[in-house]
Amino acid sequence: MRVERVISDENDSFPVGMRVLAVDDDPTCLLLLETLLTKCNYNVTTTSQALTALKMLRENKNKFDLVISDVHMPDMDGFKLLELVGLEMDLPVIMLSANGDTKLVMKGITHGACDYLLKPVRIEELQNIWQHVIRRKKFDRKDRNGSGSQDKPYIDSSETAGLGNVDQNGKFNKKRKDQNEDEDEERDENGHDNEDLSTQKKPRVVWSVELHRKFVAAVNQLGIEKAVPKKILELMNVENLTRENVASHLQALFLNLTDLKFRLYLKRISCVANQQANMAAALGSVDSTHLRMGTMNGLGNFHTLAGPDQIHNAAFRSFQHSGVLRRLNTPAGVGISGLPSSGLVQLSPVNLGNTSTNQSKLQSFVIPGNHNANILQGMPMSLEFDQLQNNRAASHVRQFPSVDNTTVLPVSSISGSLIDAGCSNSPLLGVTSNSLLLEGSSQLPTLHASNVRDNVSGFPNRSTLSDFTSIGPASNQLHGSKADIQDQASPISCNAGKIISSAPQDWNAPKKEAPYQSNVPSCSINSLRAVNGDMAQLGQCLDQNNPIFNRNVGFDFVDPLPIKCSEGENLAMEPSVIEKEGYLMVQPSRWGSYIPDNEGENFAMEPSVIEKEGYLIVQPRRQGSYIPGNLGSLEDLASAMTKQDHDKGKPTDGDFGYNDYSLRTCI
């Protein structure tokens, strides 16, 4: 009897009929393997070519339950096949080799192999391999118990383990990390692109009012400075809530606040800036007055802003279509709009909440170099209002999730990075940000700074706006690990709440405030890290050891291109910061090293400074990746997030499920 899915029938006589794909270039071994497996009552398909195997697997993901592959093969390295299978199909893979060197075995495990068998393979060993399949499925199922939305493990076998129900308002889903799966970890480390993960859905975390209230309370209690996801999680004391959930919520909150603030500021600025048409590219510190004004505006406006929903839509919409820009002088508008046209590739499905998804997405985005290139070009240059004010918040690595490309999302850099990090390409982010902004209002800058600061090591003092976030494409990349984003979000959100009040002071000397900057960058960094991690190697990149990461504090601009840990990339960061009417727009330099697939390609954007009502929008320039200041905490955060993400598998939209949540509760 053939068992198609274990999940579907607990009483099936699994493992009878388990479908195994055996790959080995040695015909003797292949025949032996086939016979042995048949003797174990499995359903065996064999091939001697790794490429053929991949093709078969890609044709139909659900055709096989398990893959056994030789390590040494002429057409493709067994480890590479292992990674690809793990990433794309999320199937358990068993390695087989005549060589039992510990190093090789270690390599197999780190690449995500479920098991490593030595030749000659014995039937007793093969009789047990079905455990790997069951283990995965059970793990997924267990998590989904009780939850309404259960994806079949086969389909949704990514890192997301499953959902658990919380006794909250009944709508709380938790995404569990698949911590037991070596493959997940391995996948993370490898950062290979995943072409199909975008189709996988992840359970979403829905932040009910109650939950959010708890969250806000926790943030307030901790203080902006200290409100890191982990602590927030502890304080909240909610079952089945993961750190990533909190982090992404935090980030979304932050983004919202930034967005909101920005809009308000723009309104004000547009009047004032109209007379000035200074396109000076001087990187100066943000005019404190300006900032303050902005701040005030922001603060003031926050209160006057409508409900989150309105903001959402309004802000978002305007952002999306360079609405903000339209309000500005034409040139500015042009400049910005120009960006998008350069081919910003829409990072389409932004997963707000899903960092994990993003791993996969990230990967998909990342890998295809062209993709990124486009995205990159489209990077909006809008300088976040917040950024201006909070320099630090500049970490704009933000990948603005521009739905329609370009959008100069006025969301502040922080938001930007958040957006990027969390939900690349998700318009919702903007919306969310807005709402968050509305809620948190004045806190936004603080949010960026402090939280970010907590997580991110000192950001180099670049011009305040150095952290220009590159919208859009970056998000994809940044998306990287969900964890990262979430982590970013969390700190940011926290900051938003608390920082705002202290923002004005900070803004005065944006440049100097490294910590502030670092905060923002941290977002980026986190994002980047996330991206990096994903891109380069799931999980490994996010290590602090990742030099790229360390170097790239560059929150400036996140290259939409996949971020690759390229070690020797030059990290000169040259954010172009232009001060205009106290408004600095900084175009983050390209994070060269982060673009794995774009071997140095550039999204070729010459930095163009566009003057807009009161602020210049500078387009990112491609420069080497720059080295962020102390990335310490950021890296830690990032790696932590990444690691978590790895296990998570595909990001789900759920993590950033703010869309439905109207933040009535103020931070």
């Binding site: 040695d26 015909p27 003797t28 025949l31 016979t35 040494h72 005549a98 030749k119 000659p120």
Partner: protein
Amino acid sequence: MDFVSQLQRKFIDYSSSLHREFTRLALYPVLANTQGIVDDQFTQLRKLEDENSPHFVMEVASLFFEDCGKLINNMAIALEQKQGVDFKQIDECIHQLKGSSSSIGAMRVKNACIAFRTFSDAKNREGCLRCLQQLSHEYSLLKNKLQTLFRVSVASRYLYVCLLIVSRENEHAEPFSDVLVFQLEQQIVAAGGSIPRVH
């Protein structure tokens, strides 16, 4: 009377020799095993042979010989290169050969591969040539043994059938009763041989 007893005597002698031959052939793989030419893995392979894969061992062995022959050839060519020996290729060949031989249970061939590897790692051309020679020798030895084994297994099947017939036909001849045949089978299996399957 005399004539009949003579016939009986002949019959008994014939049956005894059948027994002996059968035992010898049935234990042939055991012999190969003790000589180290094949190891336990080979025994496992033989056990895998059943109605679904009646000629499994033969198929696997044929594949192995083909593969092994090619690899040895390639290595010989590689070692003959005047310009420079590509040790990496040789290394890969050795690795593959090691995998195949261990899968089929060719112990001596596998050991020869292991020894070969050390010389290949050391990039010692002379040592490699010697090893290759040793490897070829072991390969031939294995091939011979396995081919004989196949013939033996075929022959032993015949003998076994004869034995059964004789024992049935000769209810009166004590030495060849069913019980005795059964005991013989047990002894063979205990010694590590296998009773041929007859339908």
